[in-house]
Amino acid sequence: MSDFEPDILTFCCNWCSYAGADLAGVSRLQYPTNNRIIRVMCSSRIEPIHILEALKEGTDGILVTGCHIGDCHYIEGNIHTDERMKEIVDALEHLGLKDRLHLEWVSAAEGKKFQETITDFVEKIRALGPNPLKEKAKEE
């Protein structure tokens, strides 16, 4: 288990968290290489199928990130994100996968927070061990 390197997928919204990730880069804030980013315009674009497919593909942990509440570029998109993620986490609980999904607000100015969020999440998932669906995904 010690050589387990978790595969992490992060959804970023175009306006806040993607820019926060950019700022982490510009500031040369180093963090683990485990993370891959998919950009969407708003975190509220994320549907359950995106999360479930990622888990089915063997992704060990999924981060959904967006603007802080009150700062959404689309006024209240992130409020819908918040509600939906709670529902998805509830559904994942039945599958024993609920800890593999995490929601975090990161502003365009929070490069440091982006770095810390990824670093902490990688460690959390590392402790949790591989996604049980991973082996099957690898076979396919």
Binding site: A19, G25, R45, Y74, E76, K138
Partner: protein, 660 residues
């Protein structure tokens, strides 16, 4: 060929992707083996060519993209380099010039999101770059051409805040022939600069250079000043903003008032004048803001008015209307400039350096009013405890700046402001001992270092160190205990008056404006520009610009430059009369949609409605966030450019398990 035919044509074609991997000098190549990435990508389906550039964004790099589109008949282009936030428009324009729809371009970030954050992990960074580009290739294959729409631009600008920055922006836009609404929350334009005594590095009287500018603004036919007004709501997008402005009641008819001051003379209520004289002077319940105010009109402070009616009797023009209510205006504007100014740091809550505990510790702004010839003491510097002229005065630098306990940023103007005030003291009262207690004196820009040298020559004493302890003796003198870090001595300095050189903070009222506009907030609390170097006055929102202290602390010349910069950037839209909006919008498949209406309340922009049992999308209102389609239970809604199949292609190609 119609647009629809062109799109169908594109779809039926074989997908031919050209991938361009940028080394960005060593910015990317230092941590990512770009050749290995290109080699790997060339093995992926649909990839026709995969090349490495030193700088893909350079002329040579862009020429290579355009040639490849023509020579290899590419119908998709992928660039793996830096962030789309700065470079996507450049590459989109590049592929368009070669005849490819700009939405058939895919951007992969392997610099900010890879090489710069994994600087010493070349092997893992290269593997990650390969995977990121593979995700991009999978998505690129599924991209569809889209049309961005052209929208007309309303030929008018809104400038929020009429300090020196906003005045400059308003005048420049107006002089280029466009209508400007200049909204100011205070009763007069002029901002903080109107309160200052002299300005560095020339020591000319602040209101003497600002006053004529204020009059010029008022006289400009294209500028409509809305004083004592606030932004209530902003709706719309570049070229078509709808703005609701709240006009606070002055309790008099501004068109009838002449600013003669008879009402003020008769008013029996007098209170400390906090707004303009920093609480040192007094004002009446009905008052004009200051002698040079624009508009020179009175207003009533209802919170202290005793309704005696003396002013009503005094006013020969019958201008006073105690029943006045707040009113609202609806404005249509094409662009918005935010120049909402700053507050000075408040040392009261933490009693920094004894402020609020000892009478003779004051702030720079209070000092500005004290030494100002039109201030409450007619320019005679006296100390608060006994109204006597101080003989020993000390300035403490970096109060509320460069301090982990308050703000870590440098407020940039305070060193020069204290040098200026110290010089003024020495000129006015040559026998006064003047000390500046500092961490570092920062004097960049033309004539500033010379200004510092002049202060030294005048005999102003500099102590490198700030008070570690501040106490007061029985004479109400201030005892500052300082470690002079140049001489390694502990100094106990007895002062008659100590001035705290307070830094700048973003005001709460600006935060309200920021939330209404949805402009990003930087870590220091000020509004955030689109790019710290390349787009210093733009925001990430098209058509909204920020200048002066709204973007962060700066001095007067810098603020005025930014005001002009905002005007130039904003006027581009007004002069062209049109703007392009993103082609990314919601689309509905009417064959699948059952018109259940679940999506309708999701839309924050009222772009969706059910009409005749059908979902109707008003594309002009849609901002392409994607909130509605995530709620659609049937899958009838799609977001162009972020379609489910496009996102899922990325999701499925994230990790390659041993292939890379």
């Amino acid at each position: 060929m119609t647009e629809q035919e062109a799109i169908t044509n594109e779809e039926s074609e074989e997908v031919r992707i050209g991938a361009f991997i940028c080394e960005c000098g060593v910015n990317i190549a230092g941590a990512v083996d770009c050749n290995a990435v290109a080699d790997y990508i060339s093995t992926l389906p649909n990839v026709v060519t995969s090349v490495v550039n030193k700088y893909t964004c350079s002329d040579a790099g862009q020429a290579e993209i355009k040639n490849a589109i023509k020579d290899l008949n590419l119908n998709r282009v992928l660039v793996a380099s830096c962030t789309p936030k700065t470079h996507e428009p450049i590459f989109r324009a590049c592929v368009e010039e070669a005849g490819l729809n700009q939405y058939l371009f895919e951007f992969v970030n392997i610099r900010e999101h890879c090489s710069w954050i994994h600087m010493w992990e070349k092997e893992d960074a290269t593997k990650k770059a390969k995977e990121l580009v593979r995700m991009g290739v999978a998505r690129a294959a599924l991209l569809e051409p889209l049309q961005s729409s052209e929208v007309p631009v309303t030929d008018a600008a809104l400038v929020i805040g009429a300090g020196v920055t906003g005045m400059q922006a308003a005048m420049d836009i107006a002089d280029m022939g466009h209508k400007v609404y200049l909204v100011e929350q205070g009763p007069s334009i002029g901002g903080k600069m109107a309160q200052l005594d002299k300005t560095f590095p020339t020591n000319d009287c602040s209101i003497c250079i600002l006053g004529p500018k204020m009059v010029e603004v008022a006289r400009n036919e294209n500028i409509e000043i809305m004083s004592y007004s606030e932004i209530d709501e902003v709706d719309g997008y570049v070229g078509n903003f709808k703005v609701k402005v709240k006009h606070k009641p002055r309790y008099l008819n501004i068109d009838e008032c002449t600013g003669c001051g008879l009402c003020t003379e008769k008013c029996p209520v007098e209170v400390p004048y906090v707004e303009f004289d920093e609480g040192i002077g007094t004002r009446k319940a009905i008052y004009t803001p200051f002698p040079q105010a624009v508009p020179l009109r009175a207003l009533v402070d209802k919170s202290i008015c005793i309704d005696c009616g003396a002013c009503i009797k005094a006013c020969e023009r019958g201008a006073i209307d105690m029943d006045q209510q707040e009113t609202f205006s609806e404005l249509d504007v094409g662009v918005i400039v935010v120049s909402a100014g700053f507050d000075v740091y408040d040392p009261e809550p933490n009693h920094d350096f004894g402020f609020g505990l000892y009478d003779n510790v004051i702030t720079t702004m209070e000092f500005e009013r004290l030494i100002n010839a039109s201030g409450p003491t007619m320019g005679k510097v006296v100390r608060p405890s006994d109204v006597k002229p101080p003989k020993r005065i000390g300035f403490v630098q970096c109060v509320g700046s460069r301090d982990k306990n308050s703000n870590i940023y440098c407020s940039s103007f305070c060193c020069m402001a204290s040098l200026k005030n110290a010089q003024l003291l020495k000129e006015k009262y040559p026998d006064t001992e003047v000390y500046i207690m500092y961490m570092d004196m920062r004097t960049p820009f033309r004539m500033y270092e010379e200004f510092y040298n002049r202060a030294r020559d005048m005999g102003i004493r500099f102590i490198r160190g700030r008070p570690a302890e501040v106490t007061e003796n029985e004479d109400h003198n201030i005892i500052a205990r300082i470690e002079d870090t140049l001489t390694n001595e502990i100094v106990n300095l007895e002062l008659d008056l100590m001035v705290l050189s307070v830094g700048a903070v973003s005001p709460e009222s600006t935060e309200t404006v920021r939330q209404i506009l949805k402009v990003s907030r930087a870590a220091d609390g000020f509004m955030m520009e689109a790019h710290p170097k390349l787009k210093p006055v733009d925001t990430t929102l098209d058509g909204i610009f920020i200048g002066g202290m709204t973007q962060g602390p700066k001095d007067i010349p810098y603020s005025i430059s930014q005001g002009s910069a905002c005007a130039a950037r904003a006027t581009r839209f007004l002069a062209q009369g049109k703007a392009l909006t993103e082609g990314i919008t919601a689309k509905v498949d009417e064959d699948i949609c059952v018109a259940c209406g679940v999506c309708v309340p999701m839309c924050p922009f009222q772009a969706l409605s059910i009409e005749d049992d059908k979902l109707k999308i008003l594309t002009a209102l849609c901002k392409g966030c994607g909130t509605c389609m995530a709620a659609c239970p049937t899958g009838a809604l799609e977001q162009s450019h972020f379609k489910n199949e496009q996102l899922l292609a990325q999701v499925k190609n994230v990790f390659a398990y041993g292939e890379v």
